[in-house]
């Protein structure tokens, strides 16, 4: 190929490569920084499993606020009895028991409302978006049902209605409609013990750290889960048991959106990569095409047949 290229094409190629590097360097603020910073008005939930008694009051409250049907599969049609988050359950209290039954604790699961959510990064038409106060919400009129959110979410939160012809993506939306009415989410509003509380993220983070400082050795690793996980989340956890045991995965502090887009955001910045590739390939193709066309009468004469493309 190199031998076939003339000086002008080589120069064009170098200008192309140089240009894309220059574009990359001068590109503005990143949309997916490695360590996103929460908006000043970002809300949060703080769940502390040393306080939770497992009364599950938050579960029917969630179902009621979101108009969800009870999941009665395991209870013989009698009462709500989900085993995990599913297309009828946006919020669940689960019990963790040590294999030797020496200790147990509860864990509340719902959307973590990441600061830079993988589901939002991957969603092709922005059906999932970071709405006001940082709530991650789903818009039915933009969703094509590709389920990339389920593949991307590191917490396995979004669920799909596999049994419906008009399927929805079901996930906790931080009771966004209640937030708009200046009410707190149903689960925090109903929690009788204060195991899960609602507030500004900065306030709750400070409160969680106060609790850790107040009782050294009480909390696992003396840290708040969600402060840095996957770039930081707006649901924060304090636990007496190892986080990965209660289903909160070990994750790095870099946002997945940053990892997934750090190269493509450069290549596709102002569509420069494809345009430069088209210019570069196009100039070579045009030259080769012109020669191919110039030789066409000769080929047609030799074969006596119309040239084929």
């Amino acid at each position: 190929m190199i031998a076939q290229m003339n000086r002008r094409q080589a120069l064009l190629g170098m200008v192309g490569i140089g240009g894309s590097v220059a574009l990359a360097v001068t590109a503005g603020a990143e949309e997916h920084p490695a360590h996103p910073v929460a908006a000043p008005d970002a809300v949060a939930m703080l769940y502390d499993n040393t306080i939770c008694t497992g009364c599950k009051a938050c579960m029917p409250a969630c179902n009621e606020a979101n108009g969800l049907p009870p999941d009665t599969l395991l209870s013989g049609g009698l009462w709500d009895m989900p085993t995990d988050l599913n297309s009828k359950t946006k919020n669940i209290i689960k019990l963790y028991e040590e294999p030797d039954s020496s200790a147990f604790c509860f864990v509340k699961r719902q959307c973590m409302h990441c600061l830079d959510p993988a589901c939002v990064t991957g969603c092709p038409f922005g059906a999932l978006e970071k709405s006001g106060w940082g709530a991650v919400t789903w818009n039915s009129s933009l969703c094509i049902g590709c389920r990339y959110c389920e593949v991307g979410c590191p917490f396995d939160v979004p669920k799909f209605e596999w049994n419906k012809w008009n399927p929805k993506v079901v996930k906790c939306e931080f009771c966004y409609d209640r937030l708009k009415k200046e009410e707190q989410p149903a689960c925090t509003a109903v929690c009788p013990t204060g195991a899960v509380i609602f507030g500004k993220r900065t306030d709750l983070l400070a409160k969680a750290k106060e609790r850790i400082a107040g009782s050294p050795g009480k909390y696992f690793e003396s840290r708040v889960y969600g402060e840095h996980e996957a770039g930081g989340t707006q649901v924060l956890y304090l636990s007496k048991v190892a986080f990965d045991k209660i289903g909160l995965p070990k994750l790095g502090s870099t946002s997945l959106g940053h990892y997934a887009t750090k190269v493509s955001s450069v290549v596709y910045k102002w569509f420069s990569g494809p345009v430069l590739a088209a210019c570069f390939l196009g100039s070579i193709i045009k030259k080769n095409w012109n020669r191919h066309e110039a030789e066409r009468p000769e080929r047609e004469k030799a074969s006596g047949l119309r040239d084929q493309l």
């Binding site: 990064t121 038409f125 593949v151 997934a260 750090k262 196009g282 193709i285 080769n288």
Partner: protein, 423 residues
């Protein structure tokens, strides 16, 4: 132009232009079997349009992508990347010899892509919202899924279809009415004027979406085994597409010429073999360098399930890379065929594994495609195979000797072709 005879096949340079298969009957037992499989698959696909996904697939919330996406789209469009790989070789690297086999690549590529897109259309849960693709202000420019969802249909319906069009229209230059012939005569110069620009698009677009298919998996993060999860996934997916594309064209040429008793062309196959060898070496080098840089070489040789899978995949691509460096191997049809199968399998494994076997979304989650899911997947493949079998008979797809060229094309509807060379 040395004539040699190996295993009964005369290896002289026989491929001068696309020539339809004249003598074979159209309706064969194979065609009937394929038609039955395709009809079953497509009927299920049609039924799925009126039903939720759950009765038709074994997918679940953990394994939200089944074989329709991971096999029919992510894996098989790699085999359908022949037009990209061969096109770049022919028009950019200026391998003039390869123009004659472009049509085989184009027909197969178009069929892989179009059946893949059918699979995708049946797979998405809310297809009616796809009109959003026409409203650019709703696009999430950071989503690899957006890139795939928009780029792939445009490529298949516009650019790949444009490239495939000449071999369809050619037929009517010979069989059409005087008026059709006159229209085509007016059309072709215009066609040739935009051709170089269209094929540029036809190479840039797959460069974009074939790499974006790999980029899809980046967001899955550590759900994918560290042997495959890498920032290099998009680029490796692209190179794997070239390995598969070249490998599949070699495979298809050998198989089709064997099936229709066409002589082979040693010069062109050898050229393809050289390119395939280069692509294989390039791929293995990049994959191993990536593993080394990420410090995963130790994991690669741990000989557990994932490591063995990786080593098999690397071997499947490395073996043809080494074998096809020898001229004698490139000029032996049997070796070439075997090595092209290895390369295709290796490339397919690389594209398939990270989205399925090496994808561990949740501790207790499992997925195996259900029977209707498999039937639909196989149905799409049967449809493409059947369509290719018809294309080689009605259009000048397969390369052949110019002496075989018969000015008459097989009449549509007539199964036997008793025509003689006229002019």
């Amino acid at each position: 132009m040395s004539a040699r005879d190996i295993a009964g096949i005369t290896l002289i340079n026989h491929w001068q232009r696309g020539v339809p298969v004249y003598r074979e009957p159209v309706v064969t037992p194979t065609l009937k079997v394929l038609a039955v499989i395709a009809v079953i698959g497509l009927s299920l696909a049609a039924a799925r349009l009126f039903s939720p996904l759950s009765p038709f697939s074994g997918m679940n919330d953990a394994y939200a992508w089944g074989i329709w996406k991971t096999f029919n789209v992510m894996t098989l469009t790699a085999l359908g990347s022949g037009p990209l790989a061969l096109g770049l070789a022919a028009w950019v690297l200026n391998r003039e010899k390869l123009h004659v086999v472009m049509r085989t690549a184009l027909a197969s590529g178009f069929l892989f892509y179009s059946t893949g897109l059918i699979a995708l259309g049946i797979d998405v849960g809310r297809p009616w919202n796809f009109y959003n693709a026409l409203l650019p202000w709703r696009w999430n420019a950071h989503s690899a899924m957006l890139e795939v969802a928009i780029c792939m249909p445009i490529y298949c319906a516009i650019f790949l279809a444009f490239e495939t069009l000449p071999m369809v229209l050619e037929r009517f230059c010979y069989t059409g009415s005087a008026q059709t012939k006159a229209t085509l005569r007016r059309l072709f110069p215009k066609f040739r004027r935009i051709y170089p620009f269209m094929i540029t698009g036809a190479y840039v677009l797959p460069l974009m979406h074939q790499s974006s298919l790999g980029a899809l998996l980046l967001l899955a993060g550590n759900k994918i085994s560290p042997l495959w999860q890498s920032p290099m996934l998009p680029f490796l997916y692209l190179v794997a597409a070239c390995v598969c594309g070249l490998g599949f064209v070699v495979f298809l040429l050998c198989i089709a010429c064997l099936r229709y008793s066409r002589p082979l062309d040693v010069a062109i196959l050898s050229e393809l073999g050289t390119l395939l060898s280069g692509a294989c070496f390039g791929f293995v080098f990049l994959q191993l360098a990536d593993l080394a840089i990420r410090g995963q070489l130790g994991t690669a040789f741990r000989f557990d399930e994932m490591s063995v899978l990786l080593l098999i995949q690397v071997a499947l691509i490395l073996v043809p890379g080494i074998a096809l460096r020898r001229r004698a191997a490139r000029e032996t049809p049997r070796t070439l065929l075997n090595m092209s199968i290895f390369a295709c399998l290796g490339g397919m494994l690389y594209r398939f594994i990270p989205a399925t076997i090496a994808f561990h979304p949740a501790p207790n989650a499992t997925y195996f495609p259900s029977v209707p899911e498999l039937l639909m997947s196989i149905g799409y493949i049967a449809l493409a195979t059947l369509a290719f079998g018809l294309a080689v008979k009605y259009f000048a797809v397969l390369p052949g000797n110019i002496a075989e060229w018969n000015y008459m094309f097989r009449r549509i509807g007539r199964t036997q072709q008793p025509v003689l060379r006229t002019q």
